[in-house]
C-alpha cells in the first residue's frame, strides 16, 4: 500500500468533503421503455445528445446512439440483466470516456478501462480520455517521416511503415495477420530498452478468450508487456462493448500521442467490429444497406483511423490542437505519433467485399496476405506485388532505402521469369541468374514467428541477397547461411556494420566488410 499517514488521508477527505457540491440540481430523466441485447430504448431525455453518457439509477451506464422524436436509443456499457423496464435514466452531460494512466502498461483491460487480468485495480494518476474524439486537423499534423520498424524483413524493406501511418493488414483467416501485428509489438522491445519507447496497444475484438490469453502470454514471454496495453472485448461480451473496443484503444493511444510520445495501436480485427456495429444498428432499427451494414459503417472506420496521426513538433501549435479534452490541457507535447495497424479478415480472398474496400480506401497502404503463399511455406505470406505503403520511402532509413530500394521490382521481375521458366527448358545465363537470385531472396524473406530482426541486421543480409553474394550457396542452405552470417556480424562487426547500418549510414567500408564476412561464411 502507499505510504501515507492516516491524518493526511483524513485531511484530504475533509477538504474533499468541503469542496463537494451538494446543492440540488435539476436532472433530466427518462424512463426505460424496452431493453434487449445490450440496447435500451428510453422515453424522454428530449435534450440528450448523440454520444452522451447516460446513467441509470443503479449506477449502470449507456451511450446515446439514436435520437428520435420521443425516445432515445442507447447502448448499454454493462450487462443487460441489471436494467429493467420502467427504470429511470438521467443525462450526465458528458461523453463516454476511459480513464488512462501510465500504470495501465502491462495490463489487460476491458473497453471501459477496467482491469480484467485479476491483478487488482490500476493505480497512477488517471487522465480521462473521450472514446469518441475528432481527429487532429491538418495544421496540427506533420508528414510521416520516421520509420516504425516491424522487424519483418519483407515489410521493412518493401512496404515500410512510418510513425503516424495507417497500414492495413488484410487476408483470409489463418494467414498470419495477428502474427505480423504481434511480431511488430515484440520488435519494439529495442526501443523500450533504448529509452525511447513506442507504446503498444493491442485491441482484441470478438476473439476467443483463450486466444487473447495466449497472445498475452506470448507478449509476456517476449517481455513486450512492459510497454503494451491489451484491450480485450472477447466474443462473449455484448456487441456494444465489441463496438467500443477500438475506440478505447484509440483513446489510450491518443493519451501517449498528445503527450509527445510514440504509440502503436493494433485493431484485431475491424471486420468483427463492423459485425458488432451491424448487430447494434439492427437492434436499434437503423436502416441497413449493403450486406446489411448500416450506411455509416464507412464513417465508423474512417473516424477511428483518422485518429492515427503524427503531431506537429512546434509546441505552441500542438498546444492549440482541436478537440482537446479538458484533462489533457497543460500536458500536451508536440511531436508524438499514433500509428494504426487495422486488421481485416477477407472471405476467400475477396477484397472487393464491402468492409475490405472501405478500409482499403481509408488506410495509407495495405499488406495483403494470401492462403496460397502461406501453404507453399512463404511465411509471412505477404503478396509483395500488390501490397503497398503510400508513405513509402520517406519512412525508411537511408541505408535500407539504398540497399533494398529495387528489391520489390526485381522480385516482381523474378516472378514473371519464374512463370516462363516453367515452359522452357533452356535458359540464357542472365535469366538463369536472375531466377536463382530471386529464389534465394524469397528464401531470405521467409521469417519465423516471434523473431523480428533488428533493422541493421536486415540491411546486411538483404545486401547479400540483392547483390548476388549468395550465388554459390545452395538454395536449401540459404537460411543456414543467414544465421551463420549474422552470428559472425554480431560477434565481430556490431560496431562497424550493424550499428552503422541501423543509424541509416552506408559506405564502401561497410559493404566491403559485408562482402568479406559473406565470403568467409560460405568458405567454412
Amino acid at each position: 500500500m502507499d505510504n501515507i499517514k492516516t491524518s493526511e488521508v483524513s485531511q484530504v477527505l475533509l477538504n474533499q468533503l468541503k469542496q463537494m457540491d451538494t446543492r440540488l440540481k435539476f436532472e433530466e430523466v427518462g424512463e426505460v421503455l424496452q431493453v434487449s441485447d445490450g440496447v435500451v430504448r428510453i422515453y424522454g431525455l428530449l435534450n440528450a445528445e448523440a454520444g452522451e453518457l447516460l446513467e441509470f439509477d443503479n449506477g449502470e451506464h449507456a451511450v446515446v446512439m439514436n435520437l428520435e422524436v420521443d425516445n432515445v436509443g442507447a447502448v448499454l456499457l454493462g450487462s443487460t440483466d441489471r436494467i429493467k423496464e420502467g427504470m429511470a435514466v438521467k443525462r450526465t452531460g458528458r461523453i463516454a470516456s476511459i480513464d488512462v494512466s501510465e500504470q495501465m502498461l502491462g495490463r489487460v483491460v476491458d473497453p471501459l478501462g477496467q482491469p480484467i487480468d485479476g491483478l487488482g485495480p490500476i493505480g497512477g494518476e488517471k487522465v480521462e480520455m473521450p472514446l469518441e474524439r475528432k481527429a487532429p486537423g491538418v495544421i496540427y499534423r506533420q508528414p510521416v517521416n520516421e520509420p516504425l520498424q516491424t522487424g519483418i524483413k519483407s515489410i521493412d524493406a518493401m512496404i515500410p511503415i512510418g510513425r503516424g501511418q495507417r497500414e492495413l493488414i488484410i487476408g483470409d483467416r489463418q494467414t498470419g495477420k495477428t502474427a505480423i501485428a504481434i511480431d511488430t509489438i515484440i520488435n519494439q522491445r529495442g526501443n523500450y530498452e533504448a529509452g525511447h519507447p513506442i507504446y503498444c496497444i493491442y485491441v482484441a475484438i470478438g476473439q476467443k478468450g483463450s486466444t487473447v490469453a495466449s497472445i498475452v502470454n506470448i507478449l509476456k514471454a517476449h517481455k513486450a508487456m512492459d510497454y503494451t496495453i491489451v484491450v480485450s472485448a472477447t466474443a462473449a461480451v455484448s456487441a456494444p462493448l465489441q463496438y467500443f473496443a477500438p475506440f478505447a484503444g484509440a483513446a489510450i493511444g491518443e493519451y501517449f500521442r498528445d503527450t509527445g510520445r510514440s504509440a502503436l495501436v493494433v485493431y484485431d480485427d475491424l471486420s468483427k467490429q463492423a459485425v458488432a456495429y451491424r448487430e447494434v444498428s439492427l437492434i436499434l432499427r437503423r436502416p441497413s444497406g449493403r450486406e446489411a451494414y448500416p450506411g455509416d459503417v464507412f464513417y465508423l472506420h474512417s473516424r477511428l483511423l483518422e485518429r492515427a496521426a503524427r503531431i506537429i513538433d512546434q509546441q505552441e501549435v500542438a498546444e492549440k490542437m482541436n478537440d482537446l479534452p479538458e484533462s489533457l490541457k497543460g500536458r500536451v507535447k508536440g511531436g508524438g505519433s499514433l500509428t494504426a495497424l487495422p486488421l481485416i479478415e477477407t472471405q476467400a480472398g475477396d477484397v472487393s467485399a464491402y468492409i475490405p474496400t472501405n478500409v482499403i480506401s481509408i488506410t495509407d497502404g495495405q499488406i495483403f496476405l494470401e492462403t496460397d503463399l502461406f501453404n507453399q511455406g512463404f511465411r509471412p505470406a505477404i503478396n509483395v506485388g500488390i501490397s503497398v505503403s503510400r508513405v513509402g520511402g520517406s519512412a525508411q532509413i537511408k541505408s535500407m532505402k539504398k540497399v533494398a530500394g529495387t528489391l520489390k521490382i526485381s522480385q516482381a521481375q523474378y516472378r514473371e521469369l519464374e512463370a516462363f521458366a516453367k515452359f522452357s527448358s533452356d535458359m540464357d545465363p542472365v535469366t538463369a541468374m536472375t531466377i536463382d537470385k530471386g529464389r534465394k531472396n524469397n528464401k531470405l524473406l521467409i521469417q519465423p514467428q516471434y523473431s523480428p530482426m533488428p533493422v541493421g541486421e536486415q540491411i546486411a543480409i538483404l545486401y547479400c541477397g540483392i547483390n548476388g553474394l549468395l550465388k554459390d550457396v545452395p538454395l536449401d542452405e540459404v537460411q543456414a547461411f543467414q544465421s551463420r552470417f549474422l552470428d559472425n556480424l554480431r560477434s565481430f562487426h556490431k560496431d562497424d556494420v550493424i550499428d552503422v547500418l541501423a543509424s541509416g549510414k552506408i559506405s564502401d567500408e561497410v559493404t566491403d566488410i559485408i562482402r568479406k564476412v559473406a565470403a568467409e561464411t560460405i568458405g567454412h
Binding site: M20, T22, L24, E27, V29, L33, Y43, V69, D70, A88
Partner: protein
C-alpha cells in the same frame, strides 16, 4: 425506423378527433388504463407485435385494455385504424403520446413525489403554488410514492425534470467523490 414520430402523429390525430367529438377526457382515461395494462403485463407488447396472433384476438385484447365498458367510439375507431395500418405494435407509444399531448393541451402537470415517509399536505400545497407561478392555469396531478430506501428528503419529478433531494443520492454522491 422512427417509431417515435409515427406514434406522435397517430396520437395527434386521435387527440384532434377526440376534441372534435368532445370525448378527449374519456379517451385520456382510457389511455391511462392502456398504459397501466402495459405496465402490469409487459408481455402484451409481444402479443401485439406477433404476426401469428389473430387480428380478431388483438382487437379484443386492445379493447379490453382501456377498461371502460363499452369503450368509447373514438378509442374503438383508433384501435381499428391501428390494426388496418398494421401498427398495433405502436399502441404503447401512442398511449404515452396521447397522454402527453393531452396534458400539455390542458396544462396538467404530473408531479411524481417520492418521500421516505408519508408526505404532509403542506409540502404538496407548496409544490402546487410553486408550479402555479410558472403556469397560472396549471392543474397538478400527484403521483405519490413512499420509498423508505431513499432514507430521507424527497425526489420530485415534473415531466422529464427531476430534483433529487434524497439523502440516499447525496450519500451516493459523496461516495462517488471519495472513490
Amino acid at each position: 425506423m422512427n417509431t417515435g414520430l409515427i406514434a406522435y402523429r397517430y396520437a395527434k390525430a386521435l387527440l384532434l378527433y377526440a376534441v372534435g367529438e368532445h370525448v378527449e377526457d374519456t379517451v385520456y382515461h382510457e389511455m391511462l388504463s392502456v398504459l397501466n395494462s402495459f405496465r402490469q403485463l409487459p408481455q402484451i407488447r409481444q402479443v401485439l407485435g406477433n404476426p401469428v396472433t389473430k387480428t380478431s384476438d388483438k382487437l379484443k385484447l386492445m379493447l379490453q385494455m382501456c377498461a371502460s365498458t363499452p369503450p368509447s367510439t373514438a378509442y374503438e375507431r383508433f384501435v381499428e385504424m391501428l390494426i388496418d395500418n398494421n401498427r398495433e405494435e405502436l399502441l404503447l407509444q401512442c398511449s404515452r403520446q396521447y397522454i402527453e399531448q393531452y396534458r400539455e393541451k390542458k396544462h396538467i402537470y404530473v408531479v411524481r413525489l417520492t418521500t421516505a415517509t408519508e408526505s404532509d399536505q403542506m409540502t404538496v400545497d407548496r409544490l402546487t403554488s410553486l408550479l402555479k407561478t410558472f403556469d397560472s392555469s396549471a392543474t397538478v396531478e400527484y403521483e405519490k410514492t413512499i420509498d423508505p430506501d431513499i432514507i430521507g428528503g424527497f425526489v420530485v419529478q415534473v415531466g422529464y425534470n427531476r430534483v433529487d433531494g434524497s439523502v440516499k443520492s447525496q450519500l451516493n454522491e459523496i461516495a462517488r467523490n471519495l472513490r
